[in-house]
Amino acid sequence: MSIQNIISNPTFYNMTQGTATQMGIKTGLNSVARPGFILMDGDIDPHTKKFSASKEFLYQAISLAMYLGIIIPVFQKGAYSLAQKHFKDSAVLKAFNNPEQFKAFKKLTDSEKIQRLAELSKKVISNPEEFRAFKKLTPEQRTEEIAKLKAKSQSSDVFTRKNITEEDEALANGIVETSSLLGTVIGLAIVAPLTATKLIHPILKGIGLDKDKKAPEQPVQQLNQQA
C-alpha cells in the first residue's frame, strides 16, 4: 500500500466529516492526552499529579458529553427547522426532515443518491390513499398517472437530481455546518468553562480527591525501620 493510498483513505475521510465529529474526536483525544502529559511530568508530586490529571480528564469528558449530547443536537435541529421555514421552496429541506437524514444522504455515492431520492419520492406517491386509488386504475390510466408523476418531477413532491442539485446540497450542508460552528464556539468556549468547572470539584471530592489533601504520611515506626 503506497503512502498516497494511506493519506487519501476514504474510510478515514468519511469518518471525519462534519464539524461536530471533528471536534468530538479532538476533545476525546484531549481527554486522554492532557491527563497523560500531566502524569508523565516528573517535577510534580504524586498527589498534585493525580488531582490535576483527574481534573483535566473530567473537564474534557464533561465538555464532550455536553457538546455532543446537548449543544450540537439543539443547534443543528434548531437551525434546520428555522431554515425549513425560511427557505419554503427548497426541495432538499423538504426531502429530509432533520439534519441526521441529510447527513446520511450526503455520505452516499452519486448512484446511491439517485436511488435514495427515488425511494423518498415513492414514499410521497405511495401513501395509502394514493396507492389504493392507483391500484384501481386500468393499465392505460396507470401509464397516464406515471406520466403525470414524471411531469411533476420538477415540483418538490418528487425528488430527483433535477430539483436536488449539488448547489441545493451545499445549502443544506451550509445550514448544518454553520449551526455546528456556532454551537462549537458557544459550547466549548463559553458554556463548558462556566458549567463544567462547577461540576468538577464535587465529583473530585466524591471520589476522595481534594486539592489541599496531601498524600498519607508514612508511619514514624516504618521510617525508623527504613533508617
Binding site: 493519506i7 487519501s8 498527589h47 498534585t48 448547489e167 445549502l171 462549537t184 468553562p193
Partner: protein
C-alpha cells in the same frame, strides 16, 4: 452577500480547521475574561492566570490555522493524479495537522514560550503558582508530647506531670516575690 449564498459558500468550502481556529480565537477573549470575573481568587493570581491563558490562546489560534494549511499543501508533493483522491488526501492531512497541533505542537510551544515569558514579566519569587510549593516535605516530623494548658486557671483538672511548675518559670516575667 445574501444569507443563501453565505450558507452555500460555507457548505461548499468548510474546512476541518475552521472550528478549532474559531474556538481558540473565542477562548483568547473568554478565558482571560472568565478568570478576571472570578471573585474568589486574589487579584494578582487572576492577572497572572489571565495573562498566561491569553498568551496560550495567542499561540494556539495561528498554530491551528497554519499547521493544517501547510499539511494540505504537502499533499501536492504526493503527486496524486485522481482529483477525488487528492480532495480526500487534503482533508485527511488537514485533520491530522489539527490533531498534531493540539497534541504536540501547541503544548510544546507553550512550554517553550509561555513559562519563560511569564518568568520575565513576574519575578520568580512573586509568582503565585509555583509548582515547587506543592511538593510535600520529605523531612521526618518528630512527634513531641503536647502540654495542655488550662484556659480557666484551674490546673487541678490536668495531671501535675503535664505542667511542672518551677521558680525558673518566673525568672524573666518581671514578677517580684517578697520585694
Amino acid at each position: 452577500m445574501s444569507l443563501e449564498s453565505t450558507l452555500k459558500y460555507i457548505g461548499k468550502n468548510v474546512k476541518p480547521y475552521w472550528p478549532t481556529v474559531a474556538v481558540a480565537s473565542a477562548e483568547l477573549v473568554f478565558r482571560p475574561l472568565f478568570t478576571m470575573m472570578d471573585k474568589k481568587s486574589p487579584e494578582e493570581t487572576k492577572k497572572y492566570t489571565a495573562l498566561r491563558e491569553g498568551i496560550t490562546e495567542l499561540i494556539a489560534a495561528p498554530t491551528y490555522l497554519a499547521l493544517p494549511v501547510l499539511a494540505a499543501k504537502a499533499s501536492g508533493l504526493l503527486k496524486i493524479k485522481d482529483a477525488k483522491a487528492e480532495k480526500m488526501a487534503k482533508h485527511n492531512l488537514q485533520i491530522l495537522g489539527t490533531w498534531v497541533a493540539a497534541l504536540v505542537v501547541i503544548p510544546g510551544l507553550c512550554s517553550a514560550v509561555v513559562k519563560p515569558f511569564m518568568d520575565k514579566i513576574y519575578d520568580k519569587k512573586d509568582k503565585p503558582e509555583d509548582k515547587k510549593l506543592d511538593i510535600t516535605s520529605k523531612t521526618i516530623e518528630i512527634e513531641t508530647p503536647k502540654v495542655q494548658i488550662s484556659q480557666t486557671g484551674n490546673n487541678e483538672i490536668y495531671p501535675r506531670s503535664a505542667h511542672q511548675v518551677s521558680i525558673a518559670n518566673f525568672a524573666n516575667t518581671g514578677m517580684k516575690v517578697g520585694g
